[in-house]
Amino acid sequence: MSTQKATLQRRPLVKKILEGADDNLLVIAGLGSSNWDITEAGDRPLNMPLWGSMGAPVGMGLGLALAQPKKRVLVITGDGDMLMSLGSLATVAAQQPDNLAIVVLDNEKFGETGNQATHTSPLNNGPTDSGAGTDLAMIAKGCGIADTGTVRDASEVAALVKDVRTKKGPVFRLVKVMVEKLEFVMPPQDGAHLKDRFRQALLGHP
């Protein structure tokens, strides 16, 4: 269970993860903060930022990773989103896609609805802010993803970036990040447009 206060800031971290992203990197981001994070790092056709469909990013990443085994697929999402589809980690483990990495940015809050505690918040954290101390990296490991880890410190970020960009998958990394009030940086919202530009860039047709 986490007792340390998080010190990592999500925006510069995601910027580092996506630095130098080329046509080999396919990125799916969960709704809310993760969407705004990848968009601030630089909107690009091979980003698929979700505006809804909570619980969908890991499944989308898996379907995409199986369809495009030569590309690197990176799923970036939050703790609230991940908690809604824990079973998808077992489905990933059953397939063992070597090109899939999952990064969960865990601020222990539901950011879009007003920073209520998620189950990853500590157990006895007051009447309105308690969770269960849920450890998503341990859940991923328990599901059968062998390569999991938790990142808390700036000194671990370089290794995190290398692992999620290049290490043999499936890779799961939980990153404890601060609760911050950040500007909304929004990509296009039209889902059909986001899908078509992604396919155009990847396949050469919508």
């Binding site: 396919l26 799916i28 698929m48 809804g52 469909s53 619980g55 969908a56 990013p57 890991v58 499944g59 989308m60 990443g61 898996l62 379907g63 995409l64 990773a65 199986l66 369809a67 495009q68 590309k71 589809s85 079973g87 998808s88 077992a90 489905t91 059953a94 397939q95 889902g191 059909a192 986001l194 899908k195 992604f198 396919r199 990847l202 396949l203």
Partner: protein, 176 residues
């Protein structure tokens, strides 16, 4: 009709899926789809994924399509309820989606727990904008699944085929 000369409708569905170049097959364990699932698992051209809940099948299909592959979700009517929020994804992203549903709570069902979701299945799918096809006889399975696949992959629609309990059989349910 001579039964031994009639191809098994589940084999015919497998052929239709192959003809339409379906590469990813999502399923939960299901007696009605059992033989088809096993054929897909044995196929060298398909990825067959067992899910923890039917809901996972929708984002998987979205991801497969983003990557240029066609897919199908095989489920039972009781699983349809698990998919409904994410069943909006094919409409929002406008991608082809095909699901084949074995019906329960439908034709002489013995288990009362299957009726609410079985009876609601066509209504909730329609409410989510999914195009419905329905099959009650073995002779119509192949043409119906083929038409559904065409509506999905050529017409860009979200399509469900309801394989009615009258087709699947009541007494044999639970056996291959």
């Amino acid at each position: 009709m001579n039964a031994s000369a009639t191809p098994d409708w589940r084999d015919q569905i497998f052929e239709v899926l192959q003809d339409h170049d379906v590469k990813q097959v999502y399923h939960v364990p299901d007696a009605g789809h059992g033989k088809l699932i096993e054929a897909c698992q044995r196929s060298n051209s398909m990825h067959t994924l067992a899910l923890t809940t039917e809901e996972e099948g929708i984002p998987l299909a979205a991801g497969a399509w983003l990557g240029g592959q066609r897919s199908v979700l095989l489920m039972q009517s009781s699983g349809v309820g698990n998919t409904i929020n994410l069943m909006g994804m094919p409409k929002t992203l406008r991608f082809p989606f095909l699901t084949l549903i074995t019906m329960r709570g439908d034709w002489g069902e013995f288990n009362s727990w299957q009726y609410p979701m079985g009876q609601a299945t066509p209504k909730v799918l329609e409410a989510m904008g999914v195009l419905l096809y329905s099959v009650e006889t073995a002779a119509e399975v192949k043409a119906t699944v083929d038409a559904a696949a065409r509506s999905a992959f050529n017409g860009g629609q979200a399509v469900a085929v309801l394989l009615r309990q009258k087709l699947i059989g009541i007494k044999n349910f639970g056996k291959k």
